[in-house]
Amino acid sequence: MDFKIRAAKQEDCKEISRMIIELAVFEKMQDQVKISTQELERDGFCSSPRFECQVAEVSEEHKSSQGYTVVGFVLYYYTYSTWMGPTVFMEDLYVMPEYRGKGIGKGLMSKVAQVGKEKQCTRLQLAVLDWNTRSLDFYIMKGARNMTASEGWHALRFDGEALDKLAAEAPKDYKSDLDTN
């Protein structure tokens, strides 16, 4: 089956939003999805985009049972390692179940690697759930290393009340250019 990998356009946000939810359902965390198509459009297609996105598209004759031709996506952004410089973080990679096993996931990831290479990124990082053995195997086969297993890195987060509480006690005299963010 032929497919095309291309940079996402603003009008793709509706399909991307749909697939973000499908991926969250697969990860058993769909109640954590809070943002809308409009917010994706605003954050991805403004003057300082917060992320980049590539989509996988098939022709009309191969559209899904529900009529979709955009059947996969990868969402990524640039981060920074104080040891090595610019890196790319692959936040979401997803192919609809009926389109798996055809090289689409590999194609999307290759595109991110290409883009990362053009931007002089020395690393491509991502996070995978420990029970998602199919994905773990896919990435390891392509040369990824499990940094949690090998070096003990854990991902931590402050949100909700804990974040509010810390913020309320911040020093008041700090000057920054927050309007650039």
Binding site: F51, G143, A162, L166
Partner: protein
């Protein structure tokens, strides 16, 4: 007396010094390949990859220049479920100045910056054998997503990226 301020281009030598001290603390000092020139271009050029807060200390009634004794480097990332996030990449206070609440002050300022820029949360990674840091964060309400939700951090290095980026016919 402590002062927290935004880093400027002139601070790049101090930033690199502290990056190396943190790497040494993590027993990975030889992995720091960045130079002052890289830090200058990457942080203070047209499209900065990072933001940096510095902690300066000046002894009371001293004529000496304030010393840079801590830093936090951060940038903004994106969660397709909740939107903008603040990602804390490096966070360090030199050994002789620990235990004075400086780390706490930096963390509070970062949280304030996160809220002000509409970030839903603040993320970072910690090595699991770094017990004192993990306790520091957990005491203040951080959740360990690797432990609680099973997230594993994966990395492709440069060789793997080049291999994947080479065009292949599907």
């Amino acid at each position: 007396m402590l002062k927290l301020r935004k880093a400027e281009p002139r601070d790049v030598p101090d930033i690199l010094r502290l990056i190396k001290e943190l790497a040494k603390y993590e027993e990975m000092e030889d992995r720091v390949l960045l130079t002052e020139k890289d830090l200058l271009e990457d942080g203070f050029g047209e499209h900065p990859f990072y933001q940096c807060i510095l902690a300066e200390w000046q002894e009371e009634q001293s004529n000496e220049e304030p010393k840079v004794i801590g830093f936090a480097m951060y940038y903004f990332t994106y969660d397709p479920w909740t939107g903008k996030l603040l990602y804390l990449e490096d966070f360090f206070v030199v050994e002789e100045f620990r235990g004075k609440g400086i780390g706490s002050e930096i963390l509070k300022l970062l949280s304030h910056l996160a809220m002000k820029t509409r970030c839903g949360s603040m993320h970072f990674i910690v090595a699991e054998d770094n017990r004192s840091s993990i306790e520091f964060y957990k005491r203040r309400g951080a959740e360990d997503l690797s432990k609680e939700e099973g997230w594993r951090l994966f990395r492709f290095d440069k060789d793997s990226i080049l291999k994947m980026a080479a065009p292949a016919e599907e």
